[in-house]
Amino acid sequence: MVNINGANIELVRRGKGRPILFLHPHIGLHGSDAFIARLAEHAEVIVPSHPGYGHSDLPPAMSTVDDMAYLYLDLLDALNLRDVTLVGASFGGWLAAEIATKTTERIARLVMMGAVGVKVGPRERSDIVDIFATPRSRWEELTFRDVKFWQRNYESLSEDELTVIARNREATALFAWNPYMYNPKLKARLHRIRVPVLFLWGEADRFAPPEYGKAYSALIPGARFELVSEAGHFPHIEQAERVARRVVEEMK
């Protein structure tokens, strides 16, 4: 735990080397272990649980990803991290973009994996599958290329694991309910990200399809977009080894 402005933030640090701040998706940290372990062979990986997620406090006034971004800037200051690689998955990618639009003083680069956060499609429908309107089994299918990477036996989970799932869901509803999974202000701020940005996108992502990722990456000057084969919305879960290798390569 680390205390940021009175909020206890759950935080794990693994490995040695240049810092990577891993920003987890709306589903929390479940499934990300292998990816984090691979990165930790080459860098120091700093893995917080977002405010309201996992076992982290939710500060009373916090209700937007914009708010959360300021907490992370404070966290970078508190840990005195420099030359940080921000690696954000899905909701965590949205967060990475919000942080970097404010200042890149301590940030060297961004890796956006299946990132959400902007609106690019028609106004009549959501760009991203609505997890609050889709049965669990269905959104799991749309999220993963191979659902075996996720399927959990909920009956066998501990009280603590179940509580974390419930907290993560509740926090996502707080931060991403409406507008669903985006900040209408973010698009016009993206030009401020003046560090290298790499988008990695699961070829089989049906949760936020590759066309969404391409349109998103086009909004950031100089950003590159690469597909990850044999992966859905969470390439870092379904192709942990390859995606970790790509991140490390990007840091060279």
Binding site: F132, A133, Y154, A166, R169, A173, L174, N178
Partner: protein, 397 residues
């Protein structure tokens, strides 16, 4: 005790088995507007008859559903405010935590109060879980928003010296100045539904009417929480008029006919829980402890009858629903005795809200039910309530 006639104004033609979810995502293609017009006219006529015969009136609202095609309670209320003569007009109620504009709520209700010459009973509800997916705001922090909306509505209704500003946590307004001034001073009576101890305490602290729905013989536990809150505050035991209960009635001169009507009325319970999976457990709606349990499985909603049997609210047999205190079914004598028995068991009741039309029940049968309730039941339950009020006071609540 007062009796209110209530209908959800359903669209039962859309209840076919092919429609697995009757809420949130059911296409309005399933609604025939010509049939719906008939329904609306019949329901209004039923409320007019209730007014004429001495019953009071209750309306409610739900959104995007065939189980209750009243998305705007203000519409029937406005019509009834003009067309009825004497009935109290209860809405239970406005889902004020899901509304973006509490000042508009104050304006609508103020007009209805004035047009009805002070007959509005102003109910606010949190709303069922499946209203949340239709709301622009999530269920996270919903109760804090509910109370802020409540505070703003009441201030808007009671401020008569010109505009004020509201700069709250959830709502911000410039120049709030509600016209017309409400008819009932300082404001129409407030009702709020509650189930959780915390919520019931807040309702009790403000001295409002507590609304309880289909909670059968569990209702006493809810009312006891209200009574305890009053005792803790050093106040006298609450009078029965602080309590209301919603049940379902099927009544006829003949017991067999009453049972036949019950079969149609129960369609409401059978269908009201039919909703697609993600909509019934919106994040933030339930306590973290309950939400944690729901990650694994959803519990069945039910009531323990006095004989100890668990009765599933949605799927229980009619006999069991009667035993649980959710339905009142039979001849006027039987219904009177069921009601008297129920009211006694919960320690007194000021307002009995009865769903007297539901599902496929034909208009003529609904009119007959209202007539029997008004002529045969109401006169006989009015008296015991006064007595019960005495006994509940004597018992110190």
């Amino acid at each position: 005790m007062r009796i209110y006639h209530f209908s959800e104004q359903p669209c039962p033609e859309a209840w076919g088995e092919q429609n697995a979810s009757l809420r949130v995502n059911l296409a309005s293609r399933n609604c025939d507007p010509r049939a719906m017009a008939e329904h609306y006219h019949h329901r209004l006529d039923e409320w007019l008859l209730a007014d004429e015969l001495g019953l009071d009136i209750m309306v409610n609202e739900h959104h995007a559903t065939a189980t209750c095609a009243t998305p705007v309670a203000a519409v029937p209320l406005a019509i009834l405010a003009r067309q009825t003569k004497r009935a109290r007009l209860l809405t239970l109620g406005y889902p004020i935590a899901n509304r973006l504009d509490p000042v508009r709520v104050a304006e609508e209700l103020a007009m209805i109060d004035v047009i009805s010459r002070g007959r509005l009973e102003m109910g606010f509800v949190r709303g069922v879980p499946y209203e949340v997916p239709l709301s622009q705001r999530s269920a996270v922090g919903q109760m804090a928003r509910f109370w802020e909306a409540h505070d703003l509505i009441l201030k808007a209704m009671t401020s008569i010296d010109g505009p004020f500003d509201w700069q709250g946590e959830h709502f911000q307004y410039r120049n709030v100045n509600v016209w017309p001034r409400v008819y009932q001073q300082p404001h129409p009576p407030v009702w709020i539904t509650g189930r959780s101890p915390q919520n019931i305490r807040e309702i009790a602290e403000r001295g409002y009417v507590l609304g309880t729905f289909l909670s059968g013989f569990h209702t006493k536990g809810l009312l006891d929480q209200y009574r305890k809150a009053c005792a803790d505050l050093g106040r006298p035991a609450p009078a029965p008029d602080r309590f209301s209960y919603l049940g379902i009635v099927a009544i006829a001169e003949d017991a067999k006919e009453a049972m036949r009507r019950a079969e149609q009325m129960v369609g409401y319970l059978r269908t009201s829980g039919r909703v697609a999976e993600p909509f019934s457990t919106p994040p933030g709606y339930f306590s973290l402890a309950d939400a944690t349990k729901m990650v694994k499985a959803r519990g069945k909603r039910g009531i323990t009858a006095r004989d100890g049997k668990f009765v599933d609210t949605h799927h229980g047999a009619i006999e069991d629903l009667v035993k649980a205190g959710i339905m009142f079914v039979g001849t006027p004598d039987e219904v009177t005795s069921q009601i008297t028995d129920f009211v006694e068991s919960i320690g007194g009741l000021g307002h009995l809200l009865l769903m007297g039309h539901a599902g496929h029940l034909p208009h003529a049968d609904a009119m007959d039910q209202i007539t029997l309730l008004a002529r045969e039941v109401l006169p006989r339950v009015q008296r015991p309530s006064a007595d019960l009020a005495q006994s509940s006071r004597a018992a110190g609540g």
